[in-house]
C-alpha cells in the first residue's frame, strides 16, 4: 500500500479495491456497534437504522451493507442542513449534532439522525452519521391518524447533542422529559454516539494505514466510479417516457393516487410525480427526502444492484413531486406513517418500466406498504409493555420466479418469534399461516400473504394502533399477471376496526389480520402445469383457483 501516497486522484485498481472495501467495512463496523448496543425493538427486528461515512463536503462515501435505503441515502442531505447551521470550520472534535426534523431528515419524528466530525492531523476530513428509529419520541405513539405534526411527538431541530464530547444537559433533559421510555431512549441515543465514534476511529486508522492525508482524492474517485456504474446501467434502459399510476386506500375519503412519469434519456433518469394526490391532514404524507429514497432504491435494485453505494450512485437519478402533494408536503403536515405511502413507490416505478425492462422488475408486493398492529398496556404481571406484531405480506413475482411468500419489500423488516412476542405481552397468537390463493396468478405467481389471529389475554383493556392499507387496492400484477389478494383486519365478534386508527380492545377479544399477497408476473396460462400441481399439493392454491386461473382440468 506504500505506493498509495498520491497527490492526484489516480489510484490503481488494486489499491482502489482495497480502499473501497475498507471504507465499506468502516460503515459496517459502525452499524455493528449500533445494533449491538441498541434497545429499540424496531432497530433490531426491522433493521430500522443506517450508518454512513461521509467526506468533508458531507457527501456519502460508504454506507453500511444492510442499510435501510430511506436512511443511508438521506443522511448526507441531513448533514448539509447541519453544515448550513454550523459551518464546517466551527465543528470541534467530539461534537455531535442531532435532529429528527422530518423535512431535514428521514420523514418522521421517531427517526433520530446524528452526525459527528472526523479529524485527522488536526484537519476535518469527514463525518460519521447514523439514523435509528427511537424506542419513543413522545406524542401519539406509532399511528397514522394525527392531524398535525405537533401531535406526533417532540421535534428536535439541528442542535449539539454533544459539545466537544460533553453532553448538552439542557437538550438531554428536554428530550428525556418528553418521551415515555427515557432510559431506553437514552440508551439508543448513546448507541448512535458509539456507532459514530467507532466510524471516526476506524477512519483515522485507515488514513494511517493508507498513508493518506485526507479523503478528497479518494472520495472523488469512488463517487465517480459509482456514478459511472449507475450511468452505464441507466444507458441500457431504452430512452423514453414511461408512465404508470397507482391507487391505495389512503385515509377515509382521501384515497391515495400516485402518478409516476419516468423519463430516461441517455444516462439520466428522472422520476416525476405530478398528478399525485394533494397532501392530507393525516400522517400519510411523505417528505421529499423519503420520496427520493424510496424512488432511488427500486431503481438501484433493478438496474445496478451490485455496485457499492455512495453519493455518485444517486447523482444520475432525479426525483420531483409538486409542493403540497402527498409526496412533497408542506410543514407542518403530519407524517408519522409515511411508510404507508412511500413503500408504494417501488410498485408504481416497476409497473412504469415493466415493458422497457421486463426481466429486471418485479410485480407489486402485498408487503408494500407494511401492515402493523401496535399493542400497548399492562401485561398480566402488571409490567408495562408495548409490542409491534412484525409480519409481512407476499412479494411480487418476477420473470424468473414466484414472489417470495411473507417477505417485506421495499423495506426489510423481519418477523420476530411468536414465542418471544407472547413472553413479553399478554397476547396469544393462535394462528400465523399462509393464506391460500392470496398470491396473484401469473406465469410466475405472486408470493403468499399470511393470516394471524391474536387473542387478548390481559386483565385490563389494551391500546391498539393499526397502520394498514390495501384493503381495497391489491398489489397489481405486471405483463398480464393478476393482482394479489387484498388485506383485511377484523375482530372475532365480527366488528371491523378502522384500518389506520387507535382503539381500545377488551380482554378476550381476538383480532384477525390478513396480509396481502404479491402480484403475479406474466400470463397465468403460460405457467408450467407442474408448478400448478405442486402449488395445489402444498395448498398454496386451491383446485378451484387452478381451474379458474390456470385452466387446470
Amino acid at each position: 500500500m506504500s505506493n498509495a501516497r498520491v497527490e492526484t486522484d489516480v489510484f490503481d485498481p488494486v489499491t482502489l479495491e482495497i480502499f473501497w472495501s475498507r471504507l465499506i467495512s468502516i460503515a459496517d463496523e459502525s452499524a455493528a456497534a449500533l445494533l449491538r448496543t441498541s434497545f429499540s425493538t424496531i432497530v433490531r427486528e426491522s433493521n430500522d437504522f443506517g450508518t454512513v461515512l461521509m467526506d468533508a463536503n458531507g457527501d456519502s462515501l460508504s454506507e453500511n451493507t444492510g442499510g435501510i435505503p430511506s436512511f443511508s441515502g438521506i443522511l448526507p442531505r441531513t448533514l448539509k442542513h447541519f453544515l448550513a447551521k454550523y459551518p464546517p470550520q466551527t465543528w470541534k472534535p467530539g461534537d455531535c449534532v442531532i435532529t429528527n426534523d422530518p423535512w431535514l431528515a428521514t420523514g418522521h419524528l421517531p427517526d433520530i439522525t446524528m452526525a459527528m466530525p472526523i479529524f485527522y492531523q488536526g484537519a476535518l476530513v469527514g463525518f460519521s452519521g447514523s439514523v435509528a428509529h427511537s424506542p419513543d419520541i413522545g406524542g401519539s405513539l406509532w399511528s397514522a391518524d394525527c392531524r398535525e405534526l405537533f401531535e406526533e411527538g417532540l421535534r428536535i431541530p439541528p442542535m449539539k447533542y454533544l459539545k466537544e464530547g460533553e453532553p448538552n444537559p439542557d437538550l438531554h433533559d428536554m428530550i428525556l422529559s418528553n418521551v415515555r421510555l427515557p432510559d431506553q431512549v437514552l440508551g439508543d441515543l448513546n448507541a448512535q454516539v458509539t456507532a459514530n465514534q467507532v466510524c471516526g476511529r476506524r477512519l483515522v486508522e485507515f488514513l494511517d494505514d493508507a498513508e493518506l492525508d485526507d479523503l478528497s482524492g479518494l472520495s472523488r474517485t469512488l463517487q465517480q466510479r459509482a456514478e459511472a456504474a449507475m450511468r452505464d446501467a441507466i444507458e441500457r434502459v431504452p430512452d423514453g417516457i414511461y408512465h404508470a399510476t397507482l391507487d391505495a386506500d389512503g385515509f377515509d375519503a382521501d384515497e391515495t393516487h400516485i402518478t409516476c412519469t419516468i423519463t430516461v434519456k441517455g444516462s439520466d433518469l428522472e422520476i416525476d410525480y405530478t398528478g399525485t394526490s394533494p397532501q392530507i391532514n393525516r400522517g400519510l404524507n411523505t417528505v421529499m427526502n423519503y420520496t427520493y429514497a424510496y424512488s432511488a432504491y427500486p431503481i438501484k435494485c433493478a438496474l445496478d444492484p451490485n455496485t457499492p453505494r455512495n453519493e455518485g450512485t444517486y447523482r444520475p437519478i432525479t426525483v420531483s413531486a409538486p409542493p403540497g402533494s402527498l409526496l412533497n408536503p408542506r410543514y407542518p403536515a403530519p407524517c408519522n406513517a409515511r411508510q404507508l405511502t412511500g413503500h408504494l413507490l417501488a410498485g408504481v416505478i416497476y409497473r412504469a418500466l415493466a415493458e422497457a425492462i421486463p426481466g429486471l422488475v418485479i410485480a407489486d408486493s402485498g408487503s408494500a406498504p407494511s401492515m402493523r398492529a401496535v399493542f400497548s398496556g399492562l401485561d398480566r404481571r402488571g409490567n408495562r409493555f408495548s409490542q409491534i406484531l412484525f409480519a409481512s405480506g407476499g412479494m411480487g413475482a418476477s420473470a424468473h420466479d414466484d414472489g417470495l411468500p411473507t417477505t417485506a419489500f421495499p423495506t426489510n423488516a423481519g418477523a420476530g418469534s411468536i414465542e418471544a412476542f407472547e413472553s413479553v405481552s399478554p397476547l396469544i397468537v393462535w394462528k400465523k399461516e399462509f393464506r391460500i390463493d392470496s398470491g396473484g396468478a401469473g406465469r410466475y405467481r405472486g408470493g403468499l400473504g399470511q393470516e394471524c389471529e391474536i387473542e387478548i389475554r390481559s386483565t385490563e383493556p389494551l391500546q391498539l394502533s393499526l397502520l394498514s392499507d390495501r384493503w381495497r387496492h391489491p398489489a397489481l400484477g405486471v405483463l398480464g399477471g393478476h393482482a394479489g389478494a387484498t388485506s383485511a383486519i377484523d375482530f372475532s365478534d365480527g366488528t371491523v376496526p378502522h384500518q389506520k386508527s387507535r382503539t381500545t380492545i377488551e380482554p378476550g377479544m381476538r383480532l384477525r389480520l390478513r396480509y396481502a399477497g404479491g402480484g403475479g408476473y406474466g400470463d397465468p396460462k403460460a405457467r408450467d402445469l407442474n408448478l400448478v400441481r405442486d402449488d395445489i399439493k402444498n395448498g398454496y392454491i386451491s383446485a378451484e383457483a387452478a381451474r379458474r386461473d390456470y385452466d387446470m382440468s
Partner: protein
Amino acid sequence: MDERIRIGVDVGGTFTDFVLVDEGRDLIYTGKRLTTPDDPSVAIIEGVARLVNEAGLDASAVHSLVHGTTLVTNTIIERTGAKVGLITTKGVRDTLEMGREIRYDLYDLFLEAPPTLVPRHLRREVAERLAPDGSILLPFDAEAFRAVARDLIEVEKVEAIAVCFMHAYHNPEHERQAKAILVEAFGAVPFTLSSEVAPEIREFERTSTACANAYVQPRMQRYLERLEAQLRAEGYPGTLYVMLSGGGITTVRAARSFPIRLIESGPAGGAMAAAFYSALTDTEHVISFDMGGTTAKICLIDGGRPDRKHDFEAGRVRRFQKGSGLPLKVSVVDMIEIGAGGGSLATVDAMGLLKVGPRSAGSAPGPVCYGLGGLDPAVTDADLYLGYLNPNYFLGGEMPLDMATVERAIEEKIARPLGLSTLQAAVGMHHIVNENMAAATRMHLAEKGRDPRRYDLIAFGGAGPVHAYGLAQLLKLRRMIVPLGAGVTSALGFLVAAPAIDYVRSYVSRLEQIDWSHLNALFSDMQSEARTLLIDAGAQPEEITMARTADMRHVGQGFEISVPVPGGPLDETALPLLRQAFFDVYQQLFERTVRDVAIEAMSWRLSATAPVPNVRLNFGGQPIGAGTALKGTRPVYFQETGFADCNVYDRYALRPGERFSGPAVVEERESTTVIGPGATVNIDAYLNVICELP
C-alpha cells in the same frame, strides 16, 4: 491418567486425516488418505490399520478412536437427507417456511429463499397449546396426533418425524405425550422432539433444528452403527467417540439421538487444536487462522478456550451470506468462514477493479499451477509467482507446479485488463485476499467488543502459513505461531478435546421475578443428565466440572449476552450477584452500563466437561530430516524489498532453540511458512515456529 493409545480421524471432503497418540511411549504418528465418499468407513478402517501398523501396535491396544465428519453438513448441503414429516401446534405449521421473513440481500430482487427441509404437504398440525408460562391453554389431542403420524408414516412414507409444539421449551409435557405415541405405535421410525434437541425459546429456530436433526438422523445412525460394528470386527475393542460442534467429544450412543450436533465437528477440531497450542505456547489471546483451498476460518481463543456460541446456520444458499441458510440451535465453536482460500479465483469486475474470491477453483480443476485444466488464476498461483511456494516441493514434491502457465494466466486474465504488470497483479491478488480476511476478522472482533492488539496468530491449513504473515501485519499483531503438522490439525484437535456436553433450558423471567425453585429444578435436571452422560463416556464423577451461564438482556433489548451464574442452589441472595455479573459482561462488551432498566433472562445453560487429556507433543512418528535446515535461497517478493534472495528452510530439520530472521520461507510437505523482512523466528521445544513481527 492412564497411558493410552488414542486415534483421531477427520473425514474431510477430499482427505481423511489421522493422528495417533501413544501416551505410554510419548509418540505421535500422523497419516492421510483420500476420502471414500460413498462409504467413508472404507478409508477410515484402512487408514487406522496402516497407522496402527506403522506405530508397531496391535488393534487390541487402541483405547479409543475420536471421529469427526462432514457427513452431517454435506447431507444438508447436498439435500440427501431423509423424507421428514413435521407435526406442529395447530396454526403454525408454516413457521418453518416463513422463517424470519427477511431478505438476506437487500438489493437482489430475485434472491432464492433458504431451503425448507419439510415441504408444506408433509407438515401437519394437531390441537394443543401452551402459554409462555407453560400452562395449558388447550389440551393435547392424542388421537389427532396418532392419526396424522399414521398418515405421514404409512401413506406419505416419511422416514423420520419431527415434533415441535409452541412453548415446549418451557413445558415438554405435550411433546412427551407425542413421543409416547410414536414409540408405542411406530417404534421403528426415528423421531426428534424440539424440547429435546433444542429446548430454547423462538419457534422458528427450534423447529428448524428439530427438522434438520430428523433429516440427518436415519443416515447418521446407520453410518455410526456400521462404523462401530466394523471397528469391532477388525479387532478394535476401544470406544468410538465423535467430535461435537461445540468442541467436546461424546459417545456414539449419545450422538445418535442428536446427530445435528456434529454439524461442525471438523472445524471444531481445528479450533481445539489451536486452543491446545495456545496453552502449549503460553499464549493467552489467540486468533486461530485456518486457511484451506476454499475458505479461511477465524476463531478467537481466550484463556485456552475457543469462543463458543449457541446458534449456527447450515446449508446456505450463498455460502458466505448471513441469513441465507437454515438456523440451528446447536452449540458450536464461534468461528467465521470467509471465501478466501488457495483456490479463490481472481476476477476483474464490471468497474475494472480486482476481486479475489469467494468463487473457488476447488480441487478440480484447481488453480492454474496444478496443470489440471484450471484457466483462471487463483491465490495459490499468485503465491507461486511471488516465490512463496516452491514449484518442486508442493505436497512434498508430489505435485510439480507449472510456473510458465501461471505467469501467462495472470498476465492475460488480470494484469492486461487492469493495465498492470504481472508482478503488480500477483501482489494485488495476494494483498486483496489478505485484506478480505483482515476485514472479516476486524468485524468479528468488533462484534465481540475485543481489541485486536491483544492477540497473537496461530496459523494452520495448507494456505494458512503462507498468508499468516500478511494477515498479522494488517491486523497489527506482533506474534505468530505456526505448529508443525499443519495438515492434520483437526484430527489432532479431536485428541486434545475432552468429553463434554452442553444443556440449555429456556425460562424467561425478569431477574427480580424469578421462581428460584423452578430454576433450581432446571439446573439439577441438567446436572444429573450431564453427569450420567459423561460417566458413560468414561469420566470419573469427581473430575467433572460444571459451568453455568444465562442468556440475559435488558428488557426491551434484542441481544442476549452470556452471563456466568454461580453454582449450587440459588435463591434471592443470588440476585445482586447475577445483576453485577450482567453489568460486568455488559461493560466489557459495550463499554457502558445502563443501571435503571430491568434485566431479564431468556435461557439457562450448563456446560459439563471432563478433564482435558494430557497430550505431549513429540513428533517421533514424523520423518525428521537430519543435517542442516537451510536448504538454500530463492527470490521471494516482499513489499519492503521487492524480489530478493531469501533463505529457504526445511521445516523437518529445524531443531528446538534454533533462531533466524526474515525474510525467509520454511517448507514442509503440506504448507509453507512465509516470514517477512525484519521478523525474528525461534523454534520452540515442540517444533513450533514462533515468529515475532518487527
